[in-house]
């Protein structure tokens, strides 16, 4: 039963003005798989992720989730979907952001409930139950009534994760979710992600936490200079270092800063 990929990205291109950020990216993620994207800053990792839920419109190639083209009715260059259609499509994916992006006027519970109520159209009671369940799962059952401003960075990010997974997305997109955190708060967030991974949540993760990428993901994709430069299972990729100059210099810079 060779799995049909849940997410299939082919020959993806994206430019900002004259700056071509993505030059033909190919990437597949099957259901239940945890794929981590690593690579130097400015290499297009975040842009790639933001194309998957069409926060960025891509210029060429194709992105398909469950066989359905993202953002366009056909391929890139085809007709762009209408706003309501786009919204329905984005509800299939969940996203967690580097800067948390919790709604400042809503408490933890309400942040998680907003999508459940407005997008999933759940009745209030059910939405509340789901929200409390997920806040409990991320270890915040005692903070359900707190505003984002009353939470630490790590707690805010865990609410961010609860908000995304509560929607029961087909795939979860994590965009450098620990980059804005103090070092001592990184682990409480990564632990939650590890748990989701062991529950079988499909995830596409952009991160600078190489150690985490190595022990938590099924596959690591090294994106540099706008395309996939190397990919494979964590140990396969590490074996690749000998043949891949860019990967070697990227990882060496990392171990240099780790000391």
């Amino acid at each position: 039963m060779s799995a049909i990929p849940l997410l299939k990205i082919s020959r993806l291109t994206k430019s900002f003005g004259t700056n071509q950020v993505l030059k033909s990216v190919d990437l597949e993620v099957t259901a239940g798989e945890v794929v981590t994207v690593i690579g130097p800053s400015g290499g297009g990792k975040t842009t790639l992720l933001r194309c998957v839920n069409f926060l960025e419109a891509y210029d060429g190639g194709s992105i398909k989730i469950d066989g359905r083209e993202v953002g366009y009715t056909d391929n890139a260059g085809g007709k762009k979907r209408g706003e309501v259609d786009l919204a329905a499509m984005r509800a299939e994916t969940g996203m967690v952001f580097q800067s948390f992006n919790l709604f400042p006027h809503l408490n933890a519970e309400q942040n998680v409930m907003l999508g459940l109520r407005q997008v999933r159209k759940k009745p209030h009671k059910e939405a509340l139950e789901i929200a409390r369940h997920w806040l409990d799962r991320v270890g915040l059952s005692h903070k359900t009534g707190s505003l984002p401003s009353e939470l630490s960075g790590g707690q805010q990010q865990r609410v961010g994760i609860a908000r995304a997974v509560a929607m029961d997305p087909k795939i979860l997109l994590l965009d450098e979710i620990t980059s804005a955190l103090d070092p001592e708060l990184v682990n409480e967030v990564l632990d939650v992600v590890r748990q989701l991974a062991s529950d079988g949540m499909t995830m596409l993760i952009v991160t600078h936490e190489i150690a985490f990428a190595r022990d938590a993901s099924h596959r690591i994709v090294f994106v540099a200079d706008g395309s996939v430069s190397a990919q494979g299972k964590p140990d396969e990729l590490m074996a690749e270092v000998a043949n891949n100059e860019r990967l070697r210099s990227f990882l060496s810079r990392f171990s240099a800063t780790a000391h």
């Binding site: 984005r90 996203m95 952001f97 992006n101 709604f103 400042p104 006027h105 407005q118 997008v119 984002p148």
Partner: protein
């Protein structure tokens, strides 16, 4: 100089001032409410429209901001009825004028508030599948409200003080009441001193109320 301060006459006619300040507040509140509806509606239209619509809204804002309120009051009260066949009392005329005037200032306040909503919050709304209308209602407007409260306080206080201009078309608000007493008693220092204190207290109370709101709805970014 042998002027003896005497407030007796002022207290005798104090009802003109107490009635006046209440009318001033009433004029300001109604004009602010109507102006807020105009301002918010146009601000939302502005940020979600093309160049032509934006140009029309900007023209309205620029026109109002560059014409003295006094002139607008004369135009609407004396000018408009001679051109169009309508009749209205001075208070109604002034409310219309101040509302349109407030609307122009509030478009700017709300527009910059809408622009100041962090892009990340809108991304979060998009990512969870909210439609543009839902993003406006549940993300952009609530966040904007908190961002604009300080600027709104200033505008509200200004508009409250601007109600004094209604005195030129004999709307019996606070300044008109003061003029009336002055004309009767010639106690110019006393009457304007008392009126000043009333404006100060009323203005401060409005500001205090708005500050309480700000504190309640403070946005952390």
């Amino acid at each position: 100089m042998n002027y003896q301060l005497s407030f007796t006459q002022i207290w005798r006619h104090f009802d003109k001032l107490s009635y006046g300040v209440l009318l001033s507040i009433e004029l300001a509140v109604i004009a602010i409410l109507i102006g807020a509806v105009i301002g918010l509606t146009l601000a939302v239209i502005y940020v979600s429209s093309g160049r032509v619509v934006r140009a029309f809204i900007s023209a309205y804002v620029e026109f109002i901001r560059n014409v003295p309120l006094l002139l607008l009051v004369y135009l609407v009260f004396y000018g408009l009825p001679t051109v169009v066949n309508i009749a209205y009392d001075a208070s109604t005329s002034f409310i219309v004028t101040l509302s349109v005037y407030a609307g122009a200032y509030l478009v700017e306040v709300f527009r910059s508030g809408l622009d100041a909503v962090p892009k990340g919050l809108l991304d979060a709304g998009k990512a969870m599948g909210l439609t543009p209308w839902q993003r406006l209602l549940h993300v952009r407007l609530p966040t904007m409200t908190r961002i604009t409260l300080p600027a709104l306080s200033n505008t509200f206080i200004s508009l409250f003080k601007d109600t004094s201009i209604a005195s030129v078309i004999a709307v019996p608000e606070l300044t008109f009441g003061a003029q009336w007493i002055n004309n009767r008693t010639f106690r110019i220092v006393e009457v304007y001193a008392v009126t000043t204190v009333i404006y100060l207290v009323a203005g401060y109370l409005i500001l205090f109320g708005l500050r309480m709101l700000e504190r309640r709805f403070r946005v952390e970014r």
